[in-house]
Symmetry: D2
Subunit: 147 residues, 4 copies
């Protein structure tokens, strides 16, 4: 029975114990478009009570990896090579969502642009943006996403 | 009584609740040189059992911010503007340490290069490297380090 | 007589001798949106006959600086702090255009995303993408754009 | 007759017409360490008379590519995937030199850190720093270095 993109991404996400530690969940999975959301929690903050840049980066990175995976052939896995993050505003909000756009899906290299938004009620504010490079690899169970 | 660099960094670090969530601690603080260490824990991993890139990025980011703070005038605070991380090897080890070098400390902008190493017994392996831009701001309690 | 954004950008661009060396010209200037175009020339190539990444980066960088300038107060100048470029495809074409989107215009820091396209006849192909950090400074004639 | 690293790098460099346009030359080639130098010329400047960030980036990028090539197997070529540059000081000087350190040479991905210095008489000043990702490819004549 073929595995759908959604199942493939969800199964891998479920195995990312750090996402559970952050309280993060997959909120959307389509071909080339993945969303991950994390609610505010005091134990995710830095010294001013804002959510730490590392938390925002973590969901941006995982979202980029899964967006790349969602457009890759089924036998292939993905690995984060590098990313750059600009922190645009303090991460203040009820929850935070990372949304990805695949800029270019290549045979070996996939490049993703992702934005993170703080959500308060019905308002969204851009708090960070990522540009990430992901490499596709043959399916090697021990290295199928960034470490 | 003047506050030492060590006290200033330690006090801010203690308020970063996310560092406690990760189990991270300050292992060295000197002028222009800060080290943060995080022991391996299963709940910090991605789907292959490696420590998540977001964890490594979190300690690199905090270390860069504090290294910038350690060379800034006392009345000044710091804020991460952006960083780039290259993931060089899977983060496998007993613990992980982030070490920073201030490349240039300017009046407004400080640039830091930081490396993260996996430690196994007495061996260290480079697993990631960061190049980060930090801005110094007048002391505004609500924005004194990256969010 | 007030100076328009267009005049301000054009006057500075004209003084960038390196743009003339590359054969680059301003092809569009609006608030928050600047385009720079450079035609193919053999003396801009690397060893395979593609236009060198440095040429593409040069027009992306200048375009980002001018986009930031176009949304800044009149008394302010801008300076490139840093940028990241992903090279997505070989730069093969009749001419190349850099197009910028201001992601966030802050009081001190402006962040721009820019894409470079290769143009062949009526076709455009994305060849590179930049994420750049620009700092606004008080008008200091000797440092008003990246060096 | 085997080709030395020096010959391999020099032959490719000679074919980079853009390096000649800039007046750049190879000043050192060893395994894992390449230097490229460019003398000041007025037609390389931006509007304040400093050398344009794009010029400095061009020699940093070529130097990173050749440093990666210098540690790669002979049958392999290299291609710039992406780079980040921090501009640390205005590029003012008689000449500018890019110096590279290979951070990690992998089977597929090589990561280089490079610094650019302005030279005035016997003094050197750090003006920019690059962190770059290079991919090794099988020898395909048409794509053997960044475009």
């Amino acid at each position: 029975m073929p595995v759908t993109i959604f199942e493939r991404v969800r199964d891998s996400f479920t195995q990312q114990q750090f996402m559970a530690t952050l309280g993060a969940s997959l909120s959307a999975v389509k071909s080339g478009a993945v969303e991950i959301v994390v609610p505010f929690r005091a134990d995710l903050t830095q010294q001013n009570g804002f959510v730490h840049a590392g938390v925002i980066t973590s969901i941006l990175d995982s979202a980029c990896g899964y967006a790349a995976l969602s457009v890759a052939p089924e036998s292939v896995n993905v690995l984060s090579v590098e990313f750059k993050v600009n922190l645009l505003s303090p991460a203040v909000g009820e929850r935070f969502v990372a949304r990805v756009q695949v800029k270019r899906a290549g045979r070996t290299i996939t490049v993703c642009a992702a934005d993170a938004f703080a959500i308060n009620g019905t308002e969204e504010k851009l708090v960070a943006t990522m540009l990430a490079t992901i490499i596709t690899t043959n399916a090697i169970p021990s290295r199928d996403l960034s470490s």
